[in-house]
């Protein structure tokens, strides 16, 4: 009964979608907004990666909201896992130690992955990648340490402080733009510099570094909370 109803619902949705898609032919739509970004993105924001100039320039407010979404989820996850944990006794499960090869490999790779993550978010305005990707790479480095070196843990306070300071940097950068840079929230108040060099694009690298650190520490915190729960 329920599956029949679900199938009917899906067929109806599918039919509606097919009908509407016929007015959006694949591969030929070009929007005015998108063309404008491609034409003047470099002049407006100084970033050569137009996706970055949209994410951190034109639509930076979205990105602020999105960082907040991740922040909310991390706090919420912590709250849910913490509620009700108080009245359970802590039982420490014994982890089977990892083999020497795995252990050494993880310790060797860990700084390299961190470095790669940092590279990805520092060069966000020049090459593909940016704060989110870099942050995720950093979090995966910590995940690898958790899996390979078992007993190693990051310091909770350290992660939390990184998270909140980088979030603050984002907001304060925006407010500085409001105060000095043409009186718009999140507007660029730094010189744009030479195109295609590392020190260019005004506030974009600052914001992307803040996002990278924030996303990295938040995802690490999420993984840390979940692993702790499963012990």
């Amino acid at each position: 009964m329920r599956s029949v109803f679900s199938l009917i619902l899906l067929v109806v949705i599918g039919a509606g979608v097919v009908f509407t898609l016929s007015s959006i032919p694949f591969g030929s739509t070009s929007s005015d907004v998108g063309e404008y970004y491609i034409d003047s993105g470099r002049a407006d924001t100084g970033a050569t990666n137009i996706v970055t100039s949209v994410v951190v320039g034109y639509r930076a407010f979205d990105t602020l909201g999105e960082v907040t979404v991740l922040f909310v989820a991390a706090i919420g996850l912590g709250a849910i896992l913490a509620a009700g944990r108080e009245n359970e006794e802590k039982k420490k499960a014994e982890w089977e130690p990892a083999s020497l090869v795995l252990y050494t490999g993880c310790r060797f790779l860990f700084p390299l992955i961190l470095l790669f993550g940092a590279y990805v978010f520092i060069h966000g305005h020049l090459t593909p990648g940016g704060g989110f990707q870099g942050g995720a790479i950093i979090a995966s480095a910590f995940l690898m340490v958790y899996l390979g070196c078992r007993k190693k843990r990051i310091s909770k306070t350290w992660a939390r402080n990184t998270e909140s300071i980088s979030g603050l940097v984002f907001v304060v950068t925006g407010l500085t733009g409001l105060a000095v840079g043409g009186h718009y929230f999140l507007s660029n108040f730094l010189p744009e510099g030479t195109l295609n060099t590392l020190f260019s694009a005004g506030i974009i690298p600052i914001i992307y570094i803040a996002i990278g650190l924030k996303v990295g520490s938040e995802l690490t915190g999420v993984i840390d909370d979940l692993i702790e729960e499963s012990e």
Partner: protein, 79 residues
């Protein structure tokens, strides 16, 4: 080119459908990881390297890891 894309889409949909039938949740998680991985290749074909990177690192790697940690704490097989 179009043949490769068709093949990838077919594998992706097959992996997605197989989630319905797996009794072992770990296999279901791996199948969804496969979906993300192939989606990230499609993003690359669609000229979206930024998104491909994000999908590969977040969708395929981190989400799978989080799912596995959660499975460790709950039950591996669907009753």
């Amino acid at each position: 080119m179009i043949i490769i894309v068709t093949l990838i889409v077919a594998i992706m949909l097959a992996a997605a459908i197989s989630v319905v039938f797996f009794k072992d949740l770990l296999s279901a998680v791996i199948a969804s990881c496969l979906v993300s991985l192939f989606a990230s290749i499609l993003f690359l074909f669609l000229q979206a390297p930024d998104v491909a990177m994000a999908e590969a690192s977040i969708g395929a790697a981190l989400i799978t890891a989080i799912f596995m940690i959660a499975l460790r704490r709950t039950r591996r097989y669907e009753e």
